[in-house]
Symmetry: D2
Subunit: 296 residues, 4 copies
């Protein structure tokens, strides 16, 4: 199967590598040319433009930073026009629900398919082909893309026939992580004021209640106040929370936790923490409790 691949960032690069390993013929493009060159050694054809990478491909996979980047590639740099009738766009980026629907409409109008397939997992999971793919779209398009998705992840959950609902799921999942960060941040501030160390508290609640590696991971980062380097930048957490609120607004769903998180993300960005890990949300809880920023 001939595959075009656009976006070779921290996530796109390992995904592309896994597709090459699985035997796909990949034509890749990245705005920063060096990144694409790295893949040539693995057998990828390097295209000089997004349009060129898309031309003639049966499936075009995109993994870009945000709505703006994807919109630029698809609409302004000619990918939509370059894709032939019957070709499928497999969009793996974390984008907004409204924009995902706009993509669905544009591809349908052009006689093309569109599968939204955002992923849960960080770059190390991508490298290990351990991503969890959330997919939505028309059944034949999903099936056509399934082998590709299988090559990148450990599981594929198909959540609906409208592509954009996969984006709803992805954004809400990220929201749940942010809720966990906020909850742990507040809980730790309370422990510290009472003289209980965050680590001791975390050991109890994760051992007794959650038994969750995610709680262990974020709890550990916050207990140690280790917010740099960022695993996932705080300003991206703000972006995703904003997109979740937009998705909720469209169908009239109040999300008090997301509203609270958005305000806390904004306060963090306003105070220069946008490039820290989003676990730094917990700094606000500590400061509002009168705790200094240093570890206990």
């Amino acid at each position: 199967m001939k595959v075009g691949f656009l976006g070779l960032g921290n996530m796109g690069m390992p995904i592309a590598r896994n597709l090459l390993r699985a035997g796909y013929s990949l034509t890749v493009y990245n705005r920063t040319p060096g990144r694409a060159g790295e893949l040539a050694a693995d057998g990828a054809t390097v295209a000089g433009s997004a349009e060129e990478a898309a031309r003639g491909a049966e499936v075009v996979v995109t993994m870009l930073a945000d709505d703006q980047a994807l919109s630029s590639v698809v609409f302004d740099q000619g990918v939509l026009d370059a894709m032939g009738p019957g070709a499928i766009h497999l969009g793996m980026s974390t984008i907004g629900v409204g924009f995902s629907r706009r993509l669905a409409e544009a591809h349908a109008h052009a006689g093309q398919g569109y599968v939204a397939g955002p992923v849960f997992g960080r770059p190390d999971a991508a490298a290990a082909a351990r991503l969890w793919v959330v997919a939505a779209g028309a059944a034949p398009h999903i099936e056509a893309c399934r082998p590709l998705m299988e090559a990148t992840g450990r599981a594929i959950s198909v959540v609906g026939a409208d592509p954009w609902v996969a984006n709803v799921v992805k954004l809400t999942g990220n929201l749940l992580i942010a809720c966990t960060i906020e909850a742990l941040g507040e809980a730790f501030a309370l422990q510290r004021k009472w003289g209980v160390t965050p680590r001791a508290f975390l050991e109890v609640v994760n051992g007794a209640l959650f038994n969750s590696p995610l709680y262990a991971n974020y709890g550990g980062l916050i207990a140690d106040e280790k917010y740099e380097p960022a695993g996932f930048r705080l300003r991206l957490g703000l972006k995703d929370t904003r997109l979740a609120l937009e998705a909720a607004d469209e169908v009239s769903v109040p999300l008090p936790l997301a509203s609270l998180l958005r305000d806390h993300f904004l306060a963090a960005v306003a105070n220069g923490r946008g490039d820290m890990d989003w676990a730094a949300l917990a700094l606000l809880a500590a400061e509002n409790a009168g705790l200094d920023k240093g570890p206990m």
Copy 2:
């Protein structure tokens, strides 16, 4: 070791049974006499009053509903006076931090010991001796109680020398569960409005992110809108949230999530849901999204 045991409710009964099994000589008392009688067959001595159960005991274990019940037993029904110098009160109830400190002071004044040892786990975990005990108190008192605590649970976490910090940890742990319930409730409302089933969503986020039996359990209850019979009654969730806020107020810690939860608990109680499982917190999120109460 001679042990007095007060409070044979859903939690106290299986704990007392495990102590008997472990070979302790137990004198038990319960306000409702029938409950104590059940234990006589297992070898317990049934006392006619709380005071009688406490008299001569090396350790008095209490497992009562709330501050008021425990205060009544200790201060009004003569337990404090009946306990001899050197005796230790092992308090396993979920009580307020201020009241726990008051107990510590009263026992210290009487030359007695006091260990706060609230537990995580439901009645079935108590029956299986699988509770997680959070203990705090003076080291010698902790050590004296350790075999008893070991007989009831799978783990004992000592979190400090001031007994009341164990109550801080217990209340905050419950708060984290309530946060999870609220977060799932809001997330599910959003999925339902977009046509994604809560079960499908839960499978994704727990599989991809949390991997937590607690998320599976509460997520399942909310997805199925199965709020009765209550595993843990909503009005007790309100009580514990209130106590967590009081503990936070005393040391000037804002807890925006707890504040939000308290308001949602109050709305639930005001609308007749106090005796449902506290997972019914999610009903408010559904209603505010314009969803009817029935399953999707």
Copy 3:
């Protein structure tokens, strides 16, 4: 002075009438033709299109429902192109800050002026030429429009040289009203549960503290639960709160009250109250307190 006037709704019609009364030569256009006809008797020239109304005008006044309506008129229906160099657009609609900036840029690019002049006041105040105009823009453009603004209102506050800051002020002002509504709604729910009538409470707090006709007005509507007909529709309150949050997001300002209001507006819309007066925000506070909807 030759003036084009676009938008003859509840607010635009009385403003246009006041301009005619003040002696301006008005060419008017409204999507619904009948409305324009009403003004012909007052001396207005009725144009067949927005473009026609704008052609040759020294000032084009717009008073339309929202960003979309204004965008359609200015960009799609040819007003921008029809306006000559040096002509000024006086935009009185309540629109978003980002869109207002886009208008400023478009007019500057065309060698035209743009003054944002949103107003505080309802249709009856407009009819009585008692509006309060919040104006921003370049000083010469403000001065050129001042006589027109004076003909429509009792006061003109110039709040900055960047036109869009007038929209910030207008949106934030509306937010303050919404805060008042929410605060009164919660306060009344509490009084009702304690047996104090909202009217009695309102008399005290407005008499003793606020002395504000706005508190008297909204307090009266909520006390009497008189939410229809709408003076200002709830869904417009949601729209303006959303725009205020967008303006705040752009400059990284958390607005916890606005976030809370947005959620309550969404719950109201999700439950079929979008066309009630925005004072109906108070119904949610009453319901969450377990009060039925009827007056006490």
Copy 4:
């Protein structure tokens, strides 16, 4: 009429003076003796204890700092016992609803009357006999106290027959002021980030919308960031918000705004602002927006 008067703080002193001016025979007591001495020149009898001031009085007026101070005087220092059958306690302090009910019960049990008569107004209003008294109690007791209340204030609002509802009204009134402070603080932070001065914004919204001296007053304090000396200390604002939340909790009324305010008050106290004017609540909004504390 023979009147005992307890509590000669910033509010009690001018009230006592007005009662003396109105011709009442006053026996006064204050914990700090010097304060009482000041009143002797005005004709007051200075008692050596609270009990002595209460003995033989037809009405005992109390104006103390909080529940604890009033409880100490009434229950521990013998005022309840010293008051004869038929005597009336006119309690003007801002106290909790639960404690007010406890007072009502104690006085009823002793065959005495109790009128809750908290006031709106600051010391300067007290000096000018311009307080607004919120009264509740049995009609005959109210009537007996009416002349005293008239001597201290410009208006008396009787809000119910249960004394404690007057405290509900007083606490909720203070809550509305706190809401106004918070709303202005957030609004000003937004203006400052967009380059609009708080004073300019305030002039517009108060002129166009609120027309309220309270908005002018607090808006001015926040615009000028003039938080010291305190007109009303922030930690008292926290105390009253806490009492309002307790009153709401008792009747199951969620108060999201009060919850939010309590968290903001706690953050302010945790950061050393407890003795500033409660308008300093606005500092948090400014800081969360990344603004430094200095005026713009």
